[in-house]
């Protein structure tokens, strides 16, 4: 599919705000730019027909992550600056290496939205789409896969979230939480 205007606008917005978050030395400004970037990402998910992911990203990326960053600044120290980040040899080399290596794989990927791409035409996705309702009674295939087909995986994810809460208690030395 050729590039549609809304997607192009959102992608440009994302790139611009990510760059702003990267080069602004002022940490508060960087966090605000990152919040805008996350909101752009959530809009992109909505445009790419992923409403479940868009809901999560809007609440997590633009909301909770930003608040956690700001709270960390409130508890530590805030660096105000008018200057921008420079570029050093080591970060320049690392970025060039990543961009060249990952970028070399792009021509081999199928076009965005191509119906014959393996992930869309392959057996796994089609199996889920064909059988999800009849086997689980759930019309939202994302939910059906999340709990019905990949439930053990999801239990692992819940365990990770649970472990993150415990790790936070240990890190902040608040073991006597209850």
């Amino acid at each position: 599919m050729s590039l549609s205007v809304p997607v192009a606008v959102v992608l440009l917005f994302m790139l611009g705000s990510a760059l702003a978050a990267a080069v602004i030395r002022d940490v508060v400004g960087s966090i605000v730019a990152f919040a805008g970037y996350s909101f752009g990402v959530a809009v992109l998910w909505a445009l790419l027909r992923a409403p479940d992911v868009a809901l999560t990203e809007a609440a997590v990326g633009a909301g909770i992550t930003t608040v956690l960053f700001l709270l960390t600044l409130a508890r530590t120290t805030v660096t105000r600056s008018d200057r921008f980040e420079g570029i050093s040899l080591r970060s320049g080399l690392a970025v060039v290496a990543i961009v060249v290596t990952v970028g070399a794989t792009v021509p081999a990927l199928p076009a965005v939205g191509d119906p014959s791409a393996p992930i869309l035409a392959g057996d796994v996705s089609q199996y889920y789409l064909t059988n999800a309702y009849d086997q689980t009674g759930v019309t939202n295939v994302v939910t059906a896969v999340l709990v019905g087909y990949r439930g053990f995986d999801t239990l692992g994810e819940v365990a990770v979230v649970f472990a993150a809460g415990i790790a936070m208690l240990l890190v902040l030395r608040r073991e006597a939480f209850v």
């Binding site: 599919m1 590039l3 997607v7 992608l11 994302m14 790139l15 990510a18 978050a21 990267a22 940490v27 960087s30 990402v41 992109l44 790419l48 027909r49 992923a50 409403p51 479940d52 992911v53 997590v60 990326g61 992550t65 956690l68 709270l71 960390t72 508890r75 530590t76 120290t77 660096t79 980040e85 420079g86 570029i87 970025v95 961009v99 970028g103 792009v106 990927l109 965005v112 939205g113 191509d114 119906p115 992930i119 869309l120 796994v124 996705s125 789409l129 999800a132 309702y133 019309t139 939202n140 295939v141 994302v142 059906a144 999340l146 995986d153 990770v160 979230v161 993150a164 936070m168 890190v171």
Partner: protein, 121 residues
């Protein structure tokens, strides 16, 4: 080149986001900014997954019996990213907790200052 730009545009954005995220993680000496870079890098991976699931004429994957009403976008990458986002925010929170602890112990969240403080001890 033009063909690449018009058909694989999201993958090019993924490459750019990975580069930006890695740049911030390496170049910035502020720990909070390093974590912002980590989040940008992470979101780059998310963009790769979700755009690989995209179908030009597809609808969001809410089906009727027998999979009718299609074509749909692929649900599987969306499930993976859905869980990855929540795990990502937990990871960010624990990383920020470590930053708070570093500040309480050494009184700085600057990488270079921290190296100096640790060298003095």
């Amino acid at each position: 080149m033009i063909e690449l730009l018009t058909t694989k545009y999201t993958y090019l954005v993924v490459v750019a986001l990975l580069g930006i995220g890695a740049y911030v993680m390496i170049e910035s000496d502020n720990f909070v900014k390093k974590i912002i870079g980590m989040n940008v890098f992470q979101t780059g991976i998310f963009v790769f997954f979700i755009s690989s699931a995209f179908h030009t004429a597809g609808r969001s994957p809410v089906v009727q019996s027998g999979g009718g009403g299609g074509p749909f976008v692929s649900p599987l990458p969306q499930v993976l990213i859905l869980t990855a986002i929540v795990v990502g925010v937990s990871l960010t929170a624990v990383a920020l907790g470590l930053v708070v602890r570093i500040y309480e112990r050494y009184g700085t969240i600057n990488e270079r200052t921290l190296e100096e403080v640790r060298a003095d001890e």
